[in-house]
Symmetry: C2
Subunit: 601 residues, 2 copies
């Protein structure tokens, strides 16, 4: 029987012809089969090598020749013919929140991280060579370092304990830890994408250049408000509001770190660096910086950053003197998450006009043109993430993630092939496109009465609290209410108006866009046609629309992995020009227009 080898060293035997998905199940790995293994979603990706069935037609439809050449396969389609090694499982687990956009690009993996472990033999002193211990350590390390007093005070003993053989952990020129001898652990570090709604953390072994695990959770600040505006109000109005928001963010990240260390066995005290990205408000709140002035005209942040502090100062449960770096924001609400996304997709070096859309709770737009990069942010709100929508939910089993007009009416797909419990973001977009198409809803967003519609549309209309609701069946609870439509309309309007205003500002029409890159948890699963149909994104040929996954998280990891990429990122932040939309007449006008559902024109 063929053997299957897993990344964690586990191996199992399975009969020839076994589906990879079955083998994963056999090995107790919770395989993610969004479409229940029907070959419909194309998301059950796994990277394999060994003796496998030839790519099916379904796989060829979902995977590019390049992906196939790299060993990427769909686990519900590929059969095991002989011994097989499973290389990465990342896309198969923890998929409720999008944690990665696949493997990191080579420059990140081949770069030199800022955080390093250095095993060195220090030259012992002699009467002829009486240099101070600190200088002989620096000579061995090959550079000038800031040695904290806590290490300096024990330096003579540390050097001499193992005959001048020591292991140093340093981030840039900051010496963080010094241990006698060698055979100490590798330098672990964590990248965090601190989103308004969700937080994702990535644990890295910076020497092996291996992501050991990812963990994701909702941002616990949500109890203080769904979006940045309500959190800023909370910080300003509640007693200790800012303090509480900071504590919640820190506790949330500590929870992710705990999950990562529990899952991998990496001791938390051996994590020496945390690099964070997030929008400007998240940055302020995490650092305990008063975001008040960010929330009212003229919308100024307290700082740009990078803000560098220590774990013990901020309260993160890693190595106490470990470095905590929040990458710099760009301007206004356009934060380091947008910067990281730009880094991840290499926006600065794109040839044509490229629009990068990070569709989080706070929609951030970056437009690269030959005249430079322009940025703006729009308060999309968490509607597209399912929050605040009556039947909204994350892309977890039970969520409708696809809906389309088929024979005999609407058809939908439920994650995990369960009975539907609600809509995730992509399902909401599909749903709105569908009911627009069916004539159930007009362009102004009003859900019509059953009398105003004809079959099959009128099957999906039921009276609601305010006007009428769209529902899968009149008795069911899975509905998009009139109030839901209004919320999505505001979000859609804000994003589309942001794009329009940004394009106007640089003198481009949407037809001039060579590429749209959609990033963020929601963007990745979007049906492009439907998104264009309701006017969320402009109507350019769909093949010019690409998905970048959680580009912010990817960028944060890249910065953690390569000091060159970090330098580039820091350099980029000052070069991006920011367009403030809030309160401008042109945005207000575009917003009014973009509230209407329908393709751009």
């Amino acid at each position: 029987m063929p053997k299957v080898f897993f990344p964690d060293g586990k191996e199992i035997m399975v009969p020839q012809g076994t589906l990879v998905a079955e083998a994963l199940q056999e090995a107790d790995i919770e395989a993610w089969l969004p479409c229940g293994g029907q070959g419909y979603c194309g998301r059950c990706r796994v990277k394999l090598e060994g003796s496998l069935s030839l790519p099916t037609e379904v796989e060829q439809a979902h995977l590019s020749p390049g992906e196939l050449a790299q060993g990427v396969r769909l686990s519900c389609q590929t059969r095991i013919e002989g011994d097989v090694r499973v290389l990465t499982l990342q896309s198969l687990t923890g998929a409720q929140i999008l944690t990665g956009g696949g493997d990191l690009p080579a420059p990140a993996l081949h770069g030199t991280p800022l955080l390093q472990r250095l095993e060195v033999k220090v030259k012992p002193p002699t009467v002829q060579d009486q240099r101070p211990d600190s200088e002989r350590l620096e000579a061995a390390l090959g550079g000038s370092y800031r040695i904290p007093l806590s290490i300096l005070s024990r330096l003579p003993a540390l050097l001499r304990e193992r005959d001048f053989l020591v292991t140093a952990y340093a981030s840039g020129d900051e010496l963080l830890k010094l241990e006698p001898g060698k055979d100490h652990g590798p330098p672990y570090a964590v990248a965090v994408d601190l989103g308004t709604t969700t937080m994702v953390a990535y644990l890295w072994d910076l020497e092996k250049k291996r992501c050991l695990g990812t963990a994701a959770a909702g941002n616990p600040q949500a109890v203080c408000g769904d979006d940045v505006i309500s959190r800023m109000v909370y910080a300003g109005d509640k007693e200790d509001g800012l303090f509480r928001l900071q504590a919640l963010a820190v506790a949330g990240i500590n929870g992710l770190v705990e999950e990562l260390t529990a899952g991998t066995g990496v001791p938390a005290r051996e994590i020496y660096q945390v690099t964070l990205v997030g929008n400007t408000c998240m940055q302020h709140l995490f650092l305990g910086i008063d975001p008040g002035c960010l929330g009212k005209a003229p919308y100024v942040p307290a700082c740009r950053g990078p803000v560098i502090t220590t774990a013990e100062h901020i309260g993160l449960n890693i190595y106490p003197r470990g470095i905590v770096e929040f990458l710099p924001n760009i301007a206004g609400f356009v934060g380091s998450d947008a910067l990281a996304a730009a880094v991840a997709v290499n926006l600065a070096e794109k040839a044509g006009n490229t629009l990068l859309v990070d569709l989080g709770t706070n929609g951030e737009l970056l437009l690269a043109t030959r005249d430079g990069i322009f940025a703006c942010s729009t308060a999309a709100g968490p509607a597209f993430e399912g929050a605040g929508i009556s039947a909204g939910m994350r892309a977890v089993p039970g969520a409708i993630d696809k809906m389309y007009l088929g024979e005999g009416g609407l058809q939908w797909h439920v994650i995990g092939s369960l009975s539907p419990r609600g809509f995730c973001g992509s399902g909401l977009v599909d749903g709105l496109a569908g009911i627009l198409d069916l004539g159930i809803m007009d362009a102004s967003g009003r859900i019509k009465t059953p009398e105003e519609t004809t079959d099959p549309g009128n099957r999906y209309i039921a009276p609601g609290d305010r006007g009428f609701d769209f529902c899968l069946d009149p008795e069911g609870q899975v509905r998009i209410t009139q109030a839901d439509v209004r919320k999505i309309q505001l979000a859609k309007g804000a994003v589309a108006a942001g794009m329009k205003t940004l394009l106007d500002h640089v003198g481009l029409r949407f037809q001039d866009l060579d590429q749209i890159i959609l990033a963020g948890g929601f963007g990745n699963y979007l049906d492009i046609n439907n998104a264009q149909q309701i006017g969320l994104i402009p109507q350019i040929p769909p093949e010019r629309v690409h998905f970048a996954g959680n580009a912010a998280g990817t960028g944060a990891q890249m910065v953690l992995l390569s000091r060159e990429i970090r330098e580039k990122a820091l350099g980029l932040t000052g070069k991006i020009r920011h367009l403030e939309l809030a309160g401008t007449a042109s945005f207000s006008q575009a917003f009014m227009e973009a509230m209407f559902f329908g393709p751009w024109n």
Copy 2:
């Protein structure tokens, strides 16, 4: 009646012809009259301007024409003829421990301190200018600053409280404190000379360029040992020894700060910087750095420095985030005190061969030649400071500070014209020279029996615990015992052998010395002839021997006052070449020879 104006604003009226010393008494200023106003000591110096009596012969003997031209007078000699302004009193008060060498040189007083108060109007943001608050603050401050998170977190509120008018306190590019509005206090700072035996602190208003006060005390570490060697042993052998020594040093300096703030009304929390100098062992102990390897071959310090930390980290009771900087040591035991002394006397720019001798508990020698500056240290011990000597005491009232062979035997002078209680350092040197001259003691340091001597020598010999003692009168307690002689002999031998070895090393004879500068608490009051007579310093023409007072303290203040001088000092430390004496054959040889009393040859 003429008026007398004092530096603190006080003014009094005195009859014409009043002695300055009497006027001081009148004004409740405790005037220091070491020789009781007899014109013998020349130490009751004061700087005056206005209508005064012409310099007496006594004054002309004690003061150089240059000093007289600057208004320096002896208070016990000068009479008030009309209105008079008293410019400085420094040498009149707190004189038990030498705290200053007079006024600081002009480059220090005209330099720009690293620590500054900056009152700035920050440009308020507009929709056209959305730079972050931190960047607009930096633009107003005219540079790039490290803004700690504690300030950053309140930055928006701080800027807006007084309509973008703020007062910043910064040390170099470290922003220490930011206050709304103006009219906050000046930047206060303290320079500390942390000696093995004594500590001196100087409180400065860095804007007015005024030393507001000096305070001095014994180093409380003395309870753990008199010299650096015994303290290193204590640090290494006692449980928590290092910790205790650090705590003692910090507590000692806190005591000085308390005295300074109590005496001046300056709030301790408005002192933003402390700059310290001291020998390498004092540096290590103050910073809590294990000095173990400094005490045994090959005598390597843990670090050179400068070591910069914060007040709260080290435990100094000033502004918690205030900067604490220990200036860099040179090498081995030659510490930042020697560096500061070199800065104070401008050693790097001396034309001829200049030997700077800092005669503290740890004797540090710097020799400037056309080939550069060379340094070494000798463990002189605290004998010359009166410690460990049976009748040793500091130069306070009751101490014999001068002794000479007069008609009918020895004559001595007691500080404060009291009956003698003991000897201070200069008295010990005079005493030894005297008994050598009288033939009471031979060159090997043995005190002879009364039988071996003749009148008047034999009047001063009395049986002691070990052999015979030298005593002022046979019944009295004020004696130099045989054991005392041995201790002084070791100290004298160490210093003289250090000089000899250093001169040999650079290929100079003592006759090639163009100048000897004596610094340190004890050096300043030395009788040059007697010091040469016993062989403590080489016999060059006495007019080429100069006193620099507490040059280390002066240098520390200069560094505090001028970033240019600080840069020079930091640059100098690496350029001084160090000669390790301990354990070398040439030093041992020179030491054996230098134990003998008698002039150099």
